[in-house]
């Protein structure tokens, strides 16, 4: 329908502007954050929030980045997220292949263990995982938190990939088998390329999830120099308690990586979300 034709009905036009209004309200927090981050604290204090700023500044971003420690926290987020993401995708594609393509004792039980674990409020695991990590000497290390993320995300990834792998026609695999292809080669050279769309969607979603994790980074890490950006922001908030312009600028900086992922991989992100819920 062309735009002109759409607006020919007054009801449709009314609905459209109602929708536009709701959308604007929805975007208000983003606009507020952007506006706050380029003002000075002083300006907001003296003029109030609703005013035309007398001075603009990018200083808040600099303060958050340098003195607020974002230059340290943000790389940490990547050091944790990337290995955990690779680990969980690789391992879950292994277990998903076994569950999707073989009949064996315990197949269904293992599948339900994975699915059930995914739904768990993960706080239930907080204390035992804290103790386990500590006992392994991995408390307050990146490896400790990477291992946990890798293991915990296995549930969701296996569930999703297993369902996807089931849709691959069996004849392709059978043909390879007859040609004398080993199972590991079938998995890596035939199944994995065919599963790539699902892996892409999953990777996008998992990146956001692991990157945005807060609980495990405050439970398994203590040293400030090791913290990812979510936990770092909480520290920042404590340090700059009155200086909201710096806090908000920091929050915006922390969001840049996920926003980039969102802009470029939006389609995969949405696919991942719906794949996960529609079974």
């Amino acid at each position: 329908m062309t735009t002109r034709k759409f607006f020919s009905s007054p009801w449709r036009a009314l609905g459209f502007f109602l929708l536009l209004l709701v959308t604007m309200i929805w975007l208000l927090p983003f606009l507020t954050a952007l506006l706050t981050s380029v003002r000075t604290n002083n300006d907001i204090l003296t003029q109030g929030f609703i005013a035309i700023p007398k001075e603009w500044t990018l200083g808040n971003f600099r303060t958050a980045w340098e003195r607020g420690g974002l230059s340290n926290y943000l790389p940490n987020s990547f050091y944790i997220t990337i290995p955990a993401l690779m680990g969980t995708l690789l391992l879950s594609s292994l277990s998903a292949y076994a569950l999707a393509r073989f009949r064996f004792a315990g197949n269904r039980l293992i599948f339900f263990l994975y699915v059930g674990g995914t739904m768990l409020p993960f706080q239930v695991l907080m204390l035992p995982v804290f103790r386990l990590t500590d006992a392994l000497g991995l408390y307050d290390t990146h490896l400790g938190i990477i291992l946990f993320h890798t293991a915990f995300q296995l549930g969701f990834c296996t569930f999703l990939l297993r369902n996807y792998m089931r849709t691959v026609p069996g004849e392709i695999l059978e043909a390879a088998r007859i040609d004398g292809c080993g199972e590991f080669r079938i998995w890596w050279q035939i199944m994995m390329p065919l599963t790539l769309p699902a892996v892409a969607a999953l990777a996008t979603l998992e990146f956001t999830w692991i990157f945005n994790d807060y609980l495990w980074s405050i439970v398994l890490l203590r040293t400030d120099a090791l913290k990812p950006v979510t936990a770092g922001l909480a520290t920042l908030q404590g340090q700059w308690i009155m200086d909201w312009t710096v806090i908000v600028a920091g929050a915006l900086l922390a969001t840049v990586p996920t926003i980039i992922v969102f802009i470029f991989l939006q389609r995969y992100f949405i696919e991942g979300l719906t794949l996960g819920a529609s079974k």
């Binding site: 706050t36 263990l113 695991l125």
Partner: protein, 295 residues
């Protein structure tokens, strides 16, 4: 050859499954044991010999526990209604050719990519009594320059103020799920109902809604589980205060464990959290199992 073939799936499974059992399934069981112990997080957990259930007895006399429980319930009730209705409404509105549909969709699900910590911080600033956007706007509207509502410091308001943030983030997610569900609705069915003289509301009520029922089940279960997981927003915005009025189970548990070093007690809280969620996990698994058996 046959024996070799039998072992293949286990070879694929061994590493991921062992990792999963050690880090997820094992700990789940270990929590139950911890809940019967006295443990400060540094020394070894010690089983309470005199009365293994002491942590639970104390829990059921702790008013903070009941406040947290009530707050989780408020969260659940808001979550299975407001974002679901909003998300469904948006999905229906955007599932047709309207100008700027892409922009609208992206606007509603964009909060999903923000971490809850970032959401919490930005909204804390919007709620700020003096400089925040919300009170500033209200002051303009009411013309009362003295107006200063403590969105996060008033015991009666604080929980709802936090839940609104969660709803803001959740509605787009629900919308995405319903939009995917609507893709599966056969347009011919809608035409047929129109031919049969159904008006918009009746088509929605008697055709679309029943077809979306499976999506609704998933949405409701996910919303409940998400409500029970609620932690980040509370931790960042109020830490459960003032006077525990915005405490939720996960946050209550974290504070008992890592601020008060009563880890045995915290484990008892997590067992309760587990018991509540187990009901819904079971419903979800049951749902999947029904489909599985049809294979």
């Amino acid at each position: 050859m046959l024996a070799k073939k039998k072992i293949v799936p286990y070879l694929f499974l061994i590493i991921p499954l062992v990792l999963y059992l050690i880090w997820v399934i094992g700990p789940m069981g270990y929590t139950f044991y911890l809940s019967l112990t006295k443990w400060d997080g540094l020394s070894k957990p010690e089983l309470i010999q005199s009365n293994p259930f002491r942590n639970y007895e104390r829990l059921f006399r702790d008013p903070v526990f009941f406040t947290s429980l009530k707050n989780n319930l408020k969260w659940i009730l808001s979550f299975i209604t407001i974002p679901v209705v909003l998300g469904l409404g948006l999905a229906i509105a955007l599932n047709r050719s309207i100008p700027w549909a892409k922009f609208f969709k992206a606007s509603f699900y964009s909060p999903l990519v923000l971490s809850l910590v970032v959401c919490g911080l930005i909204w804390s600033w919007m709620y700020h009594p003096a400089g925040g956007l919300i009170n500033s706007v209200l002051r303009r509207i009411t013309g009362n320059p003295e107006l200063s509502i403590g969105w996060l410091s008033d015991e009666k308001l604080v929980m709802w103020s936090i839940i609104i943030v969660a709803i803001w983030r959740q509605a787009g997610y629900v919308m995405v799920l319903y939009l995917a569900g609507l893709q599966g609705v056969d347009p011919q069915l809608l035409d047929a109902s129109k031919v049969d003289g159904c008006n918009g509301w009746n088509t929605f009520r008697h055709v679309i809604l029943p077809l979306l029922a499976p999506v609704t089940v998933i949405v409701v279960v996910i919303s409940i589980i998400d409500s029970l997981r609620a932690f980040d927003l509370v931790s960042v915005m109020t830490r459960g205060g003032p006077f525990n009025s915005s405490s939720v189970l996960a946050n209550f548990m974290y504070i008992e464990a890592f601020n008060n070093y009563k880890m045995g007690y915290a484990a008892a809280i997590s067992v309760i959290l587990f018991a509540i969620s187990a009901v819904f996990i079971f419903i979800y698994l049951w749902n999947i199992m029904k489909d599985e058996m049809e294979y």
